[in-house]
Amino acid sequence: MTTHSNNHYYVPHGALYPVTISAGLLALASGFIFSVATDTNKDLAYLQTPGKWMMYIGAAIIILMTFKWLSAVVIESITGQYKKWEDKSFRIGMIAFICSELAFFAAFFGALFYMRIISVPDLASFDPLFTPYKDFLGTWPSVGPGGVVLGTEYTPAKLTPMGAWGLPAINTALLLTSGATITWAHWGLLKDNRKQLVFGLFLTVALGTAFLVCQAFEYHEAYTHMGLTLGSGAYGATFFMLTGFHGFHVTLGTIMLIVILLRSMKGHFSAKNHFGFEGVAWYWHFVDVVWLGLFIFVYWL
């Protein structure tokens, strides 16, 4: 701590972005609640349209403000406000954030394991003389024994479970390759080889997009041909929630990659200073790791 730059920590000036995003979140959340209020109370159907508009406005505010906030950060970065000390803060912060994301997925994996190991077999193991679920086998994939759900009869439909070795295997290959291409791009950045950086990032974005297209196709198949929907009992719920949240993260990751690609083309980042790139790369690897878990436990086993 002998020089000015090492000793001075950059405390950014205040900004209205955070508080505006919070207001947007409030509009988004309450708008969503109003738009689905009719599910629990038929008298509230008139809230549906205003609720939807609140959602749209809220989402627009959030997207716009996130964009402005991040561009302010990018400007601070390229004007050289962030030195080693700040850089380390971002790194530790990103690691902690990714850990919290892992914990979020852990909740849904936990639900999957609980249903597969505990609740579904339990429903099939009642005394045959007393069981309300006579023909229920309790094998996985399960759509449940059926019964009355909140006053309406739920009859489990026949479905074809999603096999592992069709599209999902291709998707695995796509994501694993994209993990390799982004590392290759990183090597390019470290060698100051801008072409390799941009081309590597471009490949990664392309692979990520291809993954999303495959997944959209897979969902379409599931709904139209296989009878597999969000309402297909334990299997449908865990399948769509896990792959859906993962797909959402891939979408976010791809958008982040596109931003990083554009910034690389503009000449941002240097071999020494490129947290923005690395943060996105870490995030992308995290998405990759979660997918491997999904492939093994949701599709394969």
Partner: protein, 530 residues
Amino acid sequence: MSTTTVAHHDEHTDHPTGIMRWLTTTNHKDIGTMYLTFSLIMFLVGGSMILGIRAELFQPGLQLMNPDFFNQLIGVHALIMIFAALMPAATGFANWMIPLQIGAPDMALPRLNNWGFWLLPPSAILLTLPFTLALFGIGDGALATGWTFYPPLSIQGGIGVDFAIFAVHLLGISSVLGSINIIVTLFNMRAPGMTLMKMPMFAWGWLITAFLLIATIPVLAGAVTMLLTDRHFGTHFFDAAGGGDPIMFQHLFWFFGHPEVYILLLPVWGFIPQILQTFSRKPMYGYKAQVYSLIAIGAMSIIVWAHHFFTAGMPVPALLYFMYSTMAISLPLAVLFFCWIKTMWRGSMSFETPMLFTVGWIILFGIGGLTGLVLADVAADAQYHNSYFVVAHFHYTLFAGGIMGIMAGVYYWLPKMTGHMYNEKLGQLHFWLTAISFNLTFIPQFFLGLAGMPRRIPDYALQFAEFNMISSISAFVLGLSQLIFVYNIISTARGGKKATDQVWEGAEGLEWTLSSPPPYHSFSEQPTVK
């Protein structure tokens, strides 16, 4: 070097004034003040809700409200007190004191810090809006499930449940952001020479809290998301017809919910030893033992969750595991108690208000801990589960152990924050009124629980009448005596006797080397710790 640093900082000193200062601030003290003020306001809101409940329970029969509204008040009271009063208070102290204690210029991620706070008012709006909407005939009020959201009741509930789900989401984001910020600050912003094992105990308490929050809050977010999709998108996570299980929700919820207890208490366990050493005028006893105990408690708290629903049904080996592991937490906690007492032992003690609260806290929190051991016993819990015994137990841990600890912290640091001494006489009056009326409120509830009165009911059998009457009267005394606290804080903030830099004779640590109140930018140059 120092001149350039100072000059650079002065550019930032002309910060906006008025409302814009608070909306846009990136200053850790401003944000800390907002957290603490928000916490105090929500403490009064949540408190008035429970006074409504105690008024209803003053005598048997339904007098003031219908049972549904009663249930709504109970659930929102708990959510407000836990998420909007206790947690923001601890985060407020973290914002104010951690940079001062570790010699940092500010928190590491100041804008994120601002967002962390500004997520709280929207969540408070989401929590309380259903009450207002119900007045205009929209929906049927707030969630009536208690703060635990258990399905199937929460799946059947009206829009109040949805509002609470999203409130929890926003509060969760806020806590995770706060935790990320604290972790980064503690790992990256410590003054040169301050190793981890030289960190102030408050920083240690918060470090472990932050790890717990990052590991568990997202699980709660996942659980309430499943609830949301079960309610609106036809999934069957918590419904046996589809192969799900309502008890799965209890597992997911308490996987978060049990560490949450320690999330609320660990920051307090951090600054309590600091207060003890200040007013005993001798160094803290067993610093290392305390740090290791805090880590052990944090780690163990994640693996004991199922003791919250022993009676829901689980295999006997699981019951035994959760019983023994829960009881095992009392070992590191006993180490902490021992260290706290040993810090006071043969010290040159004086009893200003912070110390009064701390000593009272040790005794009352001890009662909370011991009654917890009773509840951890599977056989005994079959009787106590869901009774008023549980209510009394967790108010001993969360009101005495949480809020009274926070109050000790407020009196301890208020002179540093405002630069004025608070009114000592009023402070002591506040302590004695709080301690006595708190005990008179909750000791009868232990007996009520033992006698079989279930919690969360608006009406009860006649034999419970006397104890409920005592409890209700004391609850109102307890509630009203908090007005002294509010008055004392406001009058201290507005003026009073000037506080010295050290404030307390025995106070040690970096935060006491700065002026009272500290300058807008605390350590423009980092101090070196030997």
